[in-house]
């Protein structure tokens, strides 16, 4: 682990009892869902992580506990460090607290969580879908959501697909 990152990891570990994983010099800290706002406030105010670079999730379906990891990636401009915080969530209708009060950029990213993964964000100021149409059913980036592959039209099956293709009217 990078030497400068050690005090950061220690601070989070001491306060929240977090575990951590390391891979290719990157550190992932695991914290509990209810601690996330506090942990982020600590990172921003005491450890100078000014930038929330990314906020996303991973779906481990069919595994149910944890099914999701919500991922927060931070950058510290002052110390030139990066750290990642992961929040494991169980079940298919998980909830996580909003962090918009800590980092304003979380607003749209959390709407994306809601839209793409169906992870409910408690206390979000504007909980609407962001990328898909409002009447869309399902959450596309979940692993149990189909890719929506359509059979391509080639010479050998041209007529067959042509019959059921919904062509537009004038």
């Amino acid at each position: 682990m990078n030497k400068n990152l050690e005090p950061v990891v220690k601070a989070i570990q001491d306060k929240f009892g977090a575990t951590y994983e390391e891979f290719r010099d990157e550190v992932h800290l695991f914290v509990k869902p209810e601690q996330i706002v506090e942990a982020l406030t600590l990172l921003r105010d005491e450890q100078e992580f000014e930038l929330l670079s990314a906020l996303t999730a991973t779906d481990y379906w069919p595994q149910e506990s944890p099914r999701f990891h919500v991922i927060y990636q931070f950058t510290s401009l002052a110390k030139n460090l990066s750290v990642q915080i992961r929040v494991p969530l169980n079940g298919s209708s998980p909830k996580v607290q909003t962090v918009t009060a800590v980092y304003a950029s979380a607003n749209w990213r959390e709407r994306e969580l809601l839209d793409m993964f169906g992870i409910e964000v408690e206390g979000h100021p504007d909980p609407r879908r962001i990328l898909m149409p409002d009447d869309h059913v399902g959450h596309p980036l979940r692993k149990d959501y189909p890719l929506g592959y359509e059979e391509p039209q080639f010479t050998f099956n041209f007529d067959e697909i042509d019959l059921r293709k919904p062509y537009a009217k004038e």
């Binding site: 898909m132 929506g148 359509e150 919904p166 062509y167």
Partner: protein, 162 residues
């Protein structure tokens, strides 16, 4: 000026009304200024100095659908954009033509997934498909000239049925 210098004093030119109308349509076709994705950048290149689409009477891109008669669907059409595209098409006055520019607009291209229409002909009727990802500006110009060929062959009685 112009015709007289070239043809001399010819007096009378006979032709059909259809030919004159179609000829005038091809030489002042106003495309809609409407870019979706990557192909829109190539469409801009086609308008720029190196390719210069204004040679074909197309320097005037109109931002309003009500003033344009050619829609170039330049890029992938998502499920959220489809209804908007259809409304824009409906707002264009007759007669109107559509070019599906690029693979995504023609058949979905590399994006065979939940978010993209597999061909814009599911949303609006298309006259010419231009292949390429993205097509070169020359390919787009060729597509436009193909539309011109189509327009020149149009008959009034067919248009009336529309």
């Amino acid at each position: 000026m112009g015709v007289e210098q070239k043809l001399g004093n010819m007096g009378v030119v006979t032709t059909t009304l259809e030919t004159v109308v179609n000829w005038s349509r091809t030489n002042a076709m106003w495309p809609m200024l409407f870019g979706l994705a990557c192909c829109a950048i190539e469409m801009m290149s086609a308008q720029s100095a190196s390719y210069d689409m204004s040679r074909f009477g197309m320097e005037l891109m109109r931002a309003s659908p009500r003033q344009s008669d050619l829609m170039i669907v330049a890029g992938r059409v998502s499920k959220k954009m489809g209804p908007v595209l259809r409304r824009l098409y409906d707002q264009m006055p007759e007669p109107k033509w559509v070019i599906a520019m690029g693979d995504c607009a023609s058949c979905g291209g590399v994006f065979n997934n939940y978010a993209i229409y597999q061909g814009v002909d599911e949303v609006v009727p298309v006259d010419v498909f231009v292949a390429g990802c993205p097509p070169r500006p020359e390919a787009l110009i060729h597509g436009v000239l193909t539309v011109y060929e189509k327009v020149k062959g149009e008959k009034f009685k067919d248009l009336a049925v529309k």
